[in-house]
């Protein structure tokens, strides 16, 4: 297909604003699938795929429209994958900016829209759900027009549900979005914008060919990582996998690589031909590093091998997940895992628990710290317990947070951000009612319960997005927790010098509540180095006897003690003290005590 007949686009939208419904309508309207197949093949595709043992999901669908080839490229849906989103957007020349006529713009949409604008994409604004009674399409259209600096007359109004206006969207894609402008005669270059793993066929790369063309069975090379492989199969989704002998400049498709390790092929890398390699890779490749870390421990220590296997399997599909074995004196054997962000952590945790049926104990999340030691050596610390005492400086990651709230909550949000060591950047009215606030915040202050707090202080109205703003030096200290004189590694935390005291105090108070009284007094202390900053005492029990024990009671009392003993075994032993697992989560839930 000549490039002037190709249009590559994605849809930028908030969850529930109708992205997948619109995608379904596009497939129907272009007769890529019939209505009946729609239901059977697409809506149930996940189940079907599972039954067949195929785990490749369509990341890009090719549809025909009035003599053109349209490629709809899917973008990952959440904040932790900003980089992946940016790569997917880079594979396009245009984007539909889809907004719910009733809900208006959300922070996530805005962030991705800005990302699209930064990538010089042609934005086609679309207001969806105009059929809803509470819809305000005029307002939404005005907001959209202002955002992209266009006329509100250019804003398309549709109902993806009923199909009204969708044809006009397809026409607009052809008319407004420019065709690809690569050089078909140059050495081949393709951008990897996503990848997947299939247990039979290995890593599948989703690519956008920029220059030249690729052929099946050709030897290829990933330019940043240097990985070499043979293209076992080239193809595109329509919407099922359709092999093709060639992928040409401007086209979007997949490459089956046969590679057995997803980390060998990273999103953002450039594929080229081994025989006629390009001189330069495409710009923009970044080695994405995890920013949020947490220890994952099996509740039952016997489940350690299952956890290891589960992480290995997850990693196959998720190159951004990193982990290494960790041994905690309090929690036993587990893994320290690195995530792109909080949501990524939640997703991984949920998948481990749901898909692998594991009972997990997840420690309080922390961020990556860059530490300059006294000797001048620079190290990266992923675990508070490993933070050395003798240090020159500590740097912590900061984020640029964009928060959209109704105007009446601006004060509450500013207060929260200030509490969390945030620096105000700027504020703008998106409409009369909706305000965009930009703050720089230490990621560490966000990983614990920032999002929950934001939601609760704005009655759920705030929407939030962030991207990383780099590392900055901070007055940070390591706070240790000692139970009966023993440091509990799993409870150590890094805090800003000013908040170390209140956090230490809150933590030991919480632990006093969580740790049951023992047969002796137990001191719970928070300390910075050798200096104790907070202390609580769990008073010893004075009495604990089974009142009566005669002939008829013996079985029941014995079972009672056996249960008590079993309960003790489930507790973690810190020195002579039995600490229930909930206590270890106390750090995580510290925020609940705040207002």
């Amino acid at each position: 297909m000549p490039q002037n007949r190709i249009r590559n686009f994605s849809i930028v939208a908030h969850i529930d604003h109708g992205k997948s419904t619109l995608a379904d309508r596009v497939l129907e309207l272009t007769e890529t699938v019939s209505g009946r197949e729609m239901r059977e093949q697409l809506l149930d595709s996940m189940d079907l795929e599972r039954e067949r043992g195929i785990t490749i999901k369509a990341q890009a669908v090719r549809v025909p429209w009035k003599g053109h080839q349209l490629n709809l490229i899917d973008t990952p849906g959440h904040v932790d994958f900003t980089y992946e989103v940016s790569r997917a957007l880079q594979a396009c020349e245009g984007a539909l900016l889809l907004v719910d006529a009733a809900q208006g713009l959300e922070a996530q949409t805005l962030a991705n829209a800005y990302l699209a604008i930064e990538n010089d994409l042609e934005i086609v604004p679309v207001v969806n759900k105009i059929d809803l009674p509470q819809a305000n399409p005029d307002q939404a259209a005005a907001d959209l027009a202002e955002l992209i600096g266009g006329s509100r007359d250019d804003v398309l109004r549709i109902s993806a549900k009923t199909g009204a206006g969708v044809e006009a969207v397809l026409d607009a894609i052809v008319e407004r979005i420019p065709p690809p402008a690569g050089d078909p005669a140059a050495p081949a270059r393709a951008l990897i914008f996503d990848s997947s793993y299939d247990q039979y066929r290995g890593v599948v790369a989703f690519v956008r060919v920029v220059d030249g063309s690729f052929r099946t069975r050709e030897r290829l090379r990933a330019m940043a990582l240097g990985t070499r492989f043979e293209a076992e199969e080239l193809g595109f989704f329509s919407p099922t996998m359709s092999p093709t002998p060639r992928l040409e400049a401007g086209e979007v498709g997949y490459v089956i690589t046969g590679l057995k390790d997803v980390s060998k092929l990273r999103v953002g890398d450039t594929l080229t031909s081994e025989a006629h390699p390009a001189a330069e890779p495409l710009p923009g490749y970044k080695d994405v590093k995890p920013m949020v870390f947490a220890g994952l421990f099996p509740t039952e220590s016997d489940d350690y091998p299952e956890l290891r296997d589960a992480l290995e399997k997850l990693k196959l599909n998720d190159a951004s997940l990193v982990y290494e074995p960790e041994t905690s004196q309090a929690l036993g054997f587990g893994f320290r895992c690195g995530f792109l962000g909080l949501l990524h952590m939640e997703i991984v945790r949920e998948r481990l628990e749901r898909e692998f049926d594991l009972d997990l104990l997840v420690t309080a999340p922390n961020v990556a710290y860059r530490v300059l030691r006294n000797a001048g050596e620079e190290i990266e610390v992923h675990n508070p317990a490993e933070m050395p005492q003798e240090i020159e400086t500590i740097e912590e990651p900061y984020i640029r947070a964009s928060i959209i709230v109704p105007r009446e909550y601006v004060g509450a949000v500013m207060e929260l951000c200030t509490d969390r060591r945030g620096t105000f950047d700027h504020m703008e009215y998106l409409s009369e009612q909706r305000v965009l606030l930009l703050y720089e915040l230490p990621l560490a202050e966000v990983v614990i319960d920032f999002y929950d707090q934001l939601k609760s202080r704005t009655r759920g109205y705030a929407s939030f997005d962030y991207d990383l703003a780099g590392f900055r030096e901070g007055a940070l200290v390591r706070v240790d927790v000692l139970i009966a004189g023993e440091t509990v590694d799993a409870l150590s935390l890094i805090a800003h010098r000013e908040s170390a005291y209140p956090r230490g105090k809150q933590l030991v108070e919480r632990l006093r509540e969580e740790i049951p009284r023992q047969m002796f007094d137990v001191a719970v202390q928070a300390a910075i180095g050798s200096r104790v900053i907070a202390r609580e005492t769990i008073k010893a029990k004075r009495k604990d006897v089974l009142a009566k024990c005669y002939g008829g009671d013996i079985s029941r009392k014995r079972k009672l003690l056996e249960r008590q003993k079993a309960g003790k075994k489930r507790m973690k032993q810190v020195g002579a003290v039995e600490v229930p697992q909930e206590a270890f989560l106390a750090v995580l839930n510290l925020g609940e005590n705040k207002k």
Partner: protein
Amino acid sequence: MSAHARHLYVHLPFCAHRCGYCDFVTAIGRRGEHGTYVDALLAELRLESHLLAPELDTIFLGGGTPTFTEPAQLERLLAALPPAAEVTVEANPETMTAELARLLRRTGVTRVSLGAQSFQPALLNVLERRAGPDVVRRAFYRVRDAKFDNISLDLLYGIPGQSPADLQRDLSEALALGPEHLSCYELEAKPGTRFTHAHGAELSRQAESMETYFEHVVERLTAAGYRWYETANFCLQGERAGGRDLRARHNLGYWLGRDYLGIGLGAVSTIESERRRNTPRLAEYVAALGRATTPSRDVEALPDEVRSRERLMLGLRLDDPLLLETVASAIDEEALARLERLGLLRRTGVNGSQALALTTRGRHLGGSVTAELMA
């Protein structure tokens, strides 16, 4: 099973009223049925007599309220039971007439255990006990007048609303009567009882302030010359005991992990590697024995390791050191060392054999210590 149990428990379930805190197998009133019930008991005794040793050490009549049983039927039962060195009957103060006391004496009863519970009218009221303090004292004297030289009093502490001063008053009143033996129990709000429904919230509120009551009881009674020989039991010793061992011999059988036969409604027996519990349904029990067949029973297997654990649990309730060799398999050695370091338990020797003894603090924490020590 061979014949060797030297302890016999007889359950008499009848009561005038079911107290709110009670979770024993009881039957209210049913005066007309006492005769048939005693028939059933004696039938069961005949069926099970092969399990008993030729000479019994102890018999214990518990309830219910054994002394609420019609006197004629109670007398018939006592007369039919085999002789034993100790025969104890549980009694409620309001049932204790002078005639009944004499009847018990005449029929070979050697020991009476009187359920006083408290001497404070308000607290007795909370417990739904019918006897006031005067009735409790009068009952005690009637038993004494019938020449009983081994009387035990039951006291409860931790009653909703009981102040530390109330506790001291109850202890003074009890000591003033000079009983040979005292059992002091903390009131347990057992789930599902009416009492817990009514007072559970109050009990958990006062739990912490009442934590010291047990210490008060132990201090006061040992200061008065009583031997704290079991977690909840005290007896006179030495000179004041006239050289007698006044520990409850029947209960000592339980605590030493010996076999016992229980007959009657809901009664429990432990014979070798089996524990069984009779049906708690009166009609079913009586009907089965009316046909001279054994009543339906729950049976629990007691493999060696379980009996060993029970010996540990029960043995640690006593003040006498527990021989290590009898419970070694039930013990977590690491926990033993830990508890020793914490000063809750010590190793000692008895006739050249290793034994375990709880320290005073260890005894106050006996439940946790045992749970910890169990392998």
